[in-house]
Amino acid sequence: MKKDNVTTWTFLLAALCLLTLPAQALAGEVYKIGLSLAITGPTSDAGNPYAKGVEDYFKYVNDTKMLGDDTIDCMIRDDQYKNDVTKRNFEDFLDQGIVFYLNYSTGSTLALKKDFEEERMPVLPASFHAGNLVDSHYIFLPIASYSAQMIGLTEYVVKHNKGGKPKVAMFIHPSAFGRGPVEDVQKAVAAGLDVEIVEVVEHGKDLDNTAMLKRLSEKGVQYVLCHTVQSPVATMLKDASSLGLVATSFGEEGKITFLGAHYTGGNDLVALAGDSAENFYWTTSYIVTSEPGEGTDMQLALAQRYNRDEKAANSHNYANGMMVAQVVTEIIKRAKSKGKEINKETLYEELLDMNGANAFSPKTTVGDVTFSESDHQGVDTLQLYVVKNGTFASEGSPFTPEYTSKIQ
């Protein structure tokens, strides 16, 4: 009796295995991707919507079966902007067999550069620091570098300044992120960009910027180029407004025109600085939701689909996260269509092949994403925006800074 039972159970189990085998085959592959970023801690105001953008887009890919039966499993971990935690996260992701890695800060990207080389792991960071690409084969910047952004702003100043050589100051974050583009702007000036850099100011946790603004004003500074996060820029704009120093039109005489790179702008800046943000000039490669189009419609629909609030939905850093997820999905699609196995090597090849006729248009940016052996900067074009009546409006057409190629 006992022997009969064992035999029956063995047959049943064997039948069950046979039945589930086709189902397992049909379930498709799972591609693991890792993202380590600051969801809490410093700069989490940018990291939080960025993480939501990545998460939502990969959910969308899986839910709409964009990759057929295959799915993406994106593991998102908070590193609190701490390099040691980022390294630990990255190592854990490696143990779990990731095929692609998304990183965040400038500091950790620079710190882990050697690890990426050793592991031959393709990486898209949220940091657009040009220095990430030095001595690196596997790091790719999603959009124009901070250097390109700051040089682009400086070129705009030179082109539109009335009178002689414009005097500018740079207002930067006291970190590797902030200092990143300073040397490249100085190189551009040495290469002939006709502007005088009066001062480079590294801000602290300032409650009041009066002394700094007065000093810059006394030195005849007409333009302040900001490369930091929104909060210190907002405090400075409010102080400048209180001192009556904010230009009401570009280059207004006796006043200061404020301009900023990607992480200084967006809706949060307007919310924090209020009316003082009027006439703030900002550049990024992303299209903002105040300038509706196909990409922003897609962004808002995605945010709505996954119940994100208005703030996240309209954040340019949500678009930022969404865009890197779009690029990763695209290279997986391309590798699959060529019948390749999906691994870090094939995805790296696909990134390098993303140029010419193979350029990728994510619609969330003002230009196509192109990568090659010699070009690791995705979107080369930038768009200038200016705050008018509390929203960012396009100023002119997308442009590519001239001096970035002259300083290489």
Binding site: I39, T40, G41, P42, T43, S44, D45, G47, N48, P174, V198, E199, V200, V201, E202, G204, K205, D206, L207, D208, T210, A211, M212, K214, R215, L216, E218, K219, Q230, S231, A234, T235, K238, D239, S241, S242, L243, G244, D268, A271, L272, A273, G274, D275, S276, K311
Partner: protein, 297 residues
């Protein structure tokens, strides 16, 4: 000359806000000899409560500001009751370690809310046109901040000098055993000290948040930024917090106004307060107004 006076005005504005932020440290230290490392988190909590009451519940901002001070008063009192009451009589280092743990707990709790990662700003409620006299400007936000700061500092000074409870608190600070012997409830004094520190932290948070916007990272950093103020003024002196705060504010503004950008210097406004602090401590190790206790054996 207006440049000089502008720096003086800005220095006083910044310094008085430092003083208010430092007041929480002083109040707790004055009565219990404990440094509360989690003070920055309480400052941030006060600012966020004001915002939540104003924007989410639609309460007028002046009322929200007062309500947040009351809420933070009881919040800080509860913190003392739950976490610190049991540590009365234990080594000071144990209590300080608890406040470090408390800092982590409060960080974690705030990160669970939208305030942990997003930027917010109070709705505008003051005129945006600054007050300008003789080329020297001050914004309404700063002016209101200074008025609130000085009112509160005056109130606390009176409380400690004239009221019975204030005098009891000073007595506990001086000698816990002797205070108990004459019938003062030491646990109650500790609870009240924490509650008053919470109240002043909420006021500081509201004022700082109004100036910089509500960003958790910025707000809780003020718990550390004001450390040199407390050390300079003397850990147990309200008057010291005021003088120390204003000295720090002025040094920052003058360093930034006259040193930065010259002779290749930059960021001196951040460094100079610490240099001056070290120099002063060489001559006055207990700070400008700190009590130098002499123990006779």
């Amino acid at each position: 000359m207006s440049y000089f006076f502008q720096l003086v005005v800005s220095g006083i504005v910044v310094g008085s806000i430092y003083a208010l932020s430092a007041l929480g440290f002083v109040l707790i230290y004055k009565s219990s000899r404990v440094l509360n490392i989690a003070h920055g988190q309480i400052i941030a909590a006060g600012a966020f409560i004001t915002y939540a009451l104003t924007v989410w519940m639609g309460i007028p901002i002046y009322l929200s500001f007062a309500m947040s001070m009351v809420i933070t008063f009881f919040l800080a009192m509860s913190v003392e009751r739950i976490f610190l009451r049991r540590l009365i009589g234990e080594p000071i280092i144990s209590v300080i370690m608890v406040t470090i743990g408390l800092m982590s707990i409060l960080d974690g709790l705030i990160y669970l809310t939208p305030f942990g990662t997003e930027n917010f700003s109070f709705p505008p409620y003051l005129p945006t046109t600054p007050i300008t006299v003789g080329g020297v400007s001050i914004s309404w936000t700063q002016l209101v901040g200074v008025i609130i700061t000085f009112t509160m500092i005056a109130g606390f000074s009176w409380f400690f000098k004239k009221s019975t409870i204030g005098i009891s608190m000073r007595a506990v600070s001086d000698d816990q055993m002797a205070s108990m012997a004459i019938g003062i409830s030491v646990p109650k004094v500790f609870g009240l000290a924490w509650a008053m520190a919470g109240l002043s932290a909420a006021a500081a948070g509201g004022i700082i948040g109004n100036i910089t916007g509500l960003n958790f990272d910025t707000l809780h950093a003020f718990g550390i930024v004001v450390f040199p103020v407390v050390i300079l003024g003397g850990l147990d002196s309200i008057q010291g917090a005021v003088v120390g705060g204003i000295i720090m504010g002025l040094i920052q503004q003058f360093a930034s106004g006259y040193l930065d950008g010259n002779w290749g210097l930059n960021g001196t406004g951040e460094v100079m307060p610490y240099i001056i602090l070290l120099v002063i401590l060489l001559f006055k190790p207990h700070g400008l107004f700190g009590i130098h206790e002499i123990e006779r054996v």
